[in-house]
């Protein structure tokens, strides 16, 4: 063994058996002394003289043992443990300071890591496939600034075979599948994938095989349609039976054969969806019946298309190749000639962009708010660090004499800095640790907020920690420690130590210079807090205005109960009869006041529109909905003129339509809409039977769009899946069980209806705004609290150092009010400069919020004035306390205490 290694092991051993080694050392020395004494006795010395001679010869045994101990120990490690113990003792001695430091830091860190975990899962984490960097997302460019990510079947099939730059081109579409369970159909999250999807992903199935191009053919493969299921689905649906491959699943009333199980680690090409079932694209006419996107030509834009690059091919080459085939694919797309010509004029072409982390539609929605939030969190963390730094600095000033004494006793400056750094590192690690412990809770809360409750379009974000998150947390802890510790440590140990010892409390002469740094720290704290507070004020004002803007209907106490009727047998009149029975049934439910039906749930981001014209007038875009009898009463939409729909508005009674005010004004500017007709593109005429109030349709932001309502019985759609709108008095939860039993009795084959309160739909539709405003206000509150603590803490420390001086002032006749004003002024200056600086930055930064604000100017003077006022109030309150305390100093005691 190398001597160095042996020595290292020896030291390591000595770490764990320190006590035993000590006693062995003293025993060894005692033995030596004994032998020396015996030798001297033999040489004829007296007992006493021999004893003394032996002792003199060996010298100070303590010093010896020290040397031996040094030999066996890691010097740095020992010193480090001593420093840590010392720091712990110091922190323990001021629990208030420690608690505040830890709490602010934990808050800042948990907010940062939680938001980072969202960013990580949504924007950064690559797909769990080999060579993810080869993945690209394909898009269509038609001259618009934003590329289109939706493809129609002909476009995709046209690109699928282009193998010179791509190994595979594949398409997928998230979908909800109706799977036959023990008691009727159940909705299962799934995805339809093209034949090249799995070959491109290169994932090995847990068992069986994955889907191949042979499965993605009309009518399925040689033995019918095949599906691959997820490991989770295998375990929950099939109880993990080993012979699951070959079993059949009834999906949308058709038989599918399970051919493989996909491992848990693979969650598909969309990181925000975790499909349970992977079905071939060619099964769309069955799965989405009665709709058929597969054969919808250039009218069904339903696919997301991705590709895997050939090794050695870069994006530029791929884009060039795509550009070259674009026109060809466009011309063979079977689109109308007019449309093709129009597209060509807009320089239509395909394009590829990096897709190593898959494609998620929500990314484009949440990228900006998430980064925005990240910025706010960073501000909060910076504030927490600045606050701790200034508190440590103030405390360091109090400890000046202790440090000077230690330096005078021979401690090197490096050693002192190390010790002070350890103190702050300790705070930082503990704070970060606490923050990390809180991260999952905060993260899940944020993810839940972001994913929009339990709605059908909700996404699932995997925010489990990975190396990126740990790395980020470590970086945060490190930066926090350095920010918090280095400056106070460096400041506290500089300067002439003789002066410091001599002066002690009276170190007045350098005050101006030495107090510049703490003041700068406090000023930036106040400025940062003001920025956060005014940002939050802008967001909150906008949210309040959004809620106040008026929806045109009253969502409180309304629930939507959606029924999936698309896979059952009935259609037309018999289906309407079922709806009528549901209507009658729901009316008898406890607490139910009004019941009606609607096709499109307002603000659910779904829509249906068409172009209509009054006879002889211009064509206009009209948003449409098909609704049931008593709809406007149920939704509390005012009926201006005419009548609502009834059950007798059937297909044979002549087509009717109800317009909202905006639409009525658009088609009949002169008024008198009732009884008139409007016609659609196919010259079918609808008779206007009523005009109703404007209600928001797709978006809360902006005024209500022109909209028309048609009776549900006259809807030309096949097997429409409608939602019942029910206005309830009291809790709606009992309706869940009631509607389930009702459906089981009336239409047993359909999945259990999904219930969603209208309030939740409204909240979800503006969840980005809500989340940002909520977080903004929360962060602003935290920053106010932190700033208050900082202002109070630093001023208290500073005043404590001046007790003596203040005592003398009072003894010499200074009025207590003047003393109070003098102390208060110190912070007043800091707060004023900080507010000024913060206001300037806030006003110039506020423009980044523009896209999140609704009817709120980023320069609104009232909002900024309010934010400043709040901050000034908080700062005054925090500064008043030490000032009042200073004015009550007893001059006799203060002077005597020196």
């Amino acid at each position: 063994m190398l001597p160095a290694i042996s020595a290292f092991l020896g030291r390591l051993r000595s770490l764990f058996r320190g006590r035993r080694m000590e006693s062995e050392m003293s025993e060894e020395l005692a033995f030596h002394r004994e032998r020396l004494r015996e030798k001297y006795l033999q040489e004829g010395m007296s007992e006493k003289a021999a004893e003394r001679a032996a002792r003199v010869r060996l010298g100070n045994a303590q010093r010896w043992q020290e040397r031996l101990r040094e030999l066996w120990s890691f010097r740095i490690l020992e010193e480090l443990t001593r420093d840590i113990r010392f720091s712990l003792r110091l922190l323990w001695k001021s629990p208030g300071f420690t608690a505040v430091g830890l709490a602010t830091l934990a808050l800042g860190v948990s907010a940062n890591t939680a938001v980072f975990s969202l960013i990580n899962s949504l924007l950064l984490r690559p797909l769990a496939v080999p060579q993810a960097q080869q993945m690209v997302v394909l898009s269509t460019q038609e001259g618009a600034p934003q590329p289109g990510y939706s493809f129609c079947t002909p476009f995709f099939r046209g690109l699928e075979g282009k193998g010179d730059v791509f190994q595979n081109v594949f398409a997928f579409v998230n979908d909800t599948l109706q799977v036959r369970g023990e008691s009727g159909n159940v909705n299962v999250h799934g995805v339809m994938v093209s034949g090249q999807y799995f070959p491109a992903m290169q994932v090995k199935p847990v068992m069986g095989r994955y889907l191949t191009p042979a499965d993605d053919q009309e009518g399925g493969g040689s033995s019918g349609f095949a599906v691959v299921i997820s490991e989770d689905f295998w375990k929950t649906w099939f109880n993990g039976v080993p012979d699951v491959v070959g079993r059949s699943l009834m999906i949308a009333n058709a038989s599918f054969t399970v051919v493989g199980v996909i491992p848990k680690s693979f969650t598909g090409a969309d990181p925000t969806h975790h499909p349970q079932i992977y079905a071939p694209l060619s099964a769309d006419p069955i799965i989405d019946a009665p709709r058929d996107h597969l054969h919808g030509g250039t009218h069904a834009w339903w696919l997301t298309v991705m590709a895997r690059l050939q090794p050695g091919v870069d994006l530029e080459k791929a884009n060039a190749a795509l550009q070259a085939v674009s026109t060809g694919v466009l011309h063979t797309s079977t689109g109308e000639a007019d449309w093709i010509k129009d597209e060509e004029q807009h320089h239509f072409h395909f394009a590829a962009e990096p897709g190593s982390n898959g494609f998620a539609y929500v990314r484009s929605v949440f990228r900006k708010p998430l980064l925005m939030m990240f910025g706010m969190c960073g501000g909060l963390l910076l504030l927490a660090c600045l606050n701790l730094a200034s508190l440590l600095l103030a405390r360091g000033a109090v400890r000046e004499r202790e440090l000077a004494t230690r330096r005078a006793l021979g401690a090197t400056r490096l050693r002192l800095i190390r010790q002070l750094m350890i103190e702050s590192l300790f705070l930082a690690t503990l704070g970060t640790g606490l923050g990390m412990a809180l991260t999952p809770i905060v993260g899940h809360a944020l993810a839940a907020m972001l994913s929009g409750g339990s709605g059908p379009d909700s996404m699932s974000l995997d925010i489990s920690p990975d190396w990126r998150l740990y790395g980020f947390a470590a970086a945060v802890a490190f930066i926090a420690a350095v920010l918090i510790g280095l400056m106070p440590a460096w400041r506290a140990t500089e300067g002439d130590l003789n002066e410091q010892i001599k002066n002690g409390q009276h170190a007045q002469q350098q005050r101006r210079q030495t107090r510049l740094i703490p003041r700068l720290l406090m000023i930036s704290q106040v400025a940062l807090a003001l920025i956060l507070v005014s940002g939050a004020a802008l967001l909150a004002t906008s949210l309040v205005r959004l809620y106040r803007s008026g929806l045109g209907f009253d969502p409180h106490g309304v629930v939507n109960i959606s029924f999936s009727m698309d896979k059952q047998q009935l259609d037309g009149e018999p289906l309407m009869e079922v709806y009528r029975q549901i209507w009658d049934g729901l009316k008898t439910a406890p607490g139910v006041k009004d019941v009606s039906f609607q096709f499109v749930v307002p603000l659910s981001h779904r829509g249906w529109n068409g172009h209509y014209a009054a006879p002889g007038g211009e064509r206009h875009l009209l948003w449409l909905n098909s609704v049931g009898p008593d709809y406007f009463n149920t939704m509390r939409i005012p009926l201006d003129q005419g009548r609502g729909f009834t059950w007798s508005d059937t297909k044979s009674s002549g087509l009717k339509i109800i317009l909202n005010r905006s639409a009525a004004k658009l088609f009949f500017p002169q008024g008198g809409a009732i009884g008139r007709q409007i016609v659609d593109r196919d010259k079918v005429a609808y008779e206007v039977v009523a005009v109703v109030g404007d209600a928001k349709y797709r978006d809360v932001r902006g005024p209500a769009a022109p909209a028309g309502y048609v009776p549900m019985q006259q809807d030309s759609q096949k097997k429409p899946s409608l939602s019942a709108v029910v206005r309830v008095d009291g809790p709606w939860q009992p309706l869940v069980q009631f509607s389930r039993e009702l459906t089981a009795r009336l239409v047993p084959s359909i999945p259990a209806p999904v219930i969603r309160p209208m309030d939740e739909v409204v909240d979800t539709s503006i969840n980005t705004e809500r989340m940002m405003a909520l977080l903004g206000v929360f962060f602003a509150g935290c920053s106010l609290l932190v700033t208050a603590i900082g202002l109070y803490g630093t001023l208290s420390y500073a005043t404590a150092r001046r007790t003596n001086e203040i005592g003398i002032r009072i003894a010499l006749g200074a009025q207590r009010r003047r003393v109070m004003a003098m102390i208060f002024r110190e912070n007043a200056v800091v707060a004023t400069i900080g507010c000024g600086a913060g206001l300037a930055v806030a006003v110039s930064l506020s423009t980044v919020l523009t896209s999140f604000l609704y009817e709120t100017s980023t320069r609104d003077p009232w909002i900024f004035a309010g934010a400043t006022f709040t901050l000034v109030c908080v700062a005054s309150a925090a500064s008043l306390l030490p000032a009042v305390r200073a004015s009550w100093i007893d001059p006799m005691q203060a002077i005597r205490s020196e």
Binding site: P3, S6, F31, E34, R57, L68, L71
Partner: protein
């Protein structure tokens, strides 16, 4: 907090002492007192090993794996720590004595030159 640093001359002496200690133990396991006595005796009372140097040297050698230490009974039946050369230690002794022979011969050449 005061750090003691070894001077250059100290490390030279240290190396020599370590060689002598290894040599003393080449005859068989010994405790520290016997090592000091043997060196004193064999050197015709010319070399007197300070305890303050001896024990750190013994421990250093033990730590680096040249010596093994175990507790045993001394000649007058007291518990004492006995040091024994390891295989590494024997090798080290050979290397050191060769180095020493070369060094002393060289010094002798220099000193005897006219």
């Amino acid at each position: 907090m005061i750090r003691e640093e070894n001077t250059d001359s100290g490390s030279l002496l240290q190396g020599t002492l370590e060689m002598l200690v290894l040599k003393a133990l080449a005859r068989g396991p010994q405790h520290g007192y016997a090592v000091a006595e043997w060196i004193h005796h064999v050197s015709h009372q010319l070399l007197k090993v300070e305890e303050g140097a001896l024990y750190p040297a013994l421990h250093r050698l033990e730590m680096r794996g040249f010596l093994n230490a175990e507790w045993g009974a001394s000649e007058n039946n007291r518990r004492a720590k006995f040091y024994r050369l390891t295989a590494e230690g024997t090798k080290r002794l050979d290397a050191e004595s060769q180095r020493w022979a070369r060094l002393s011969a060289a010094v002798a050449f220099v000193m005897q030159s006219s």
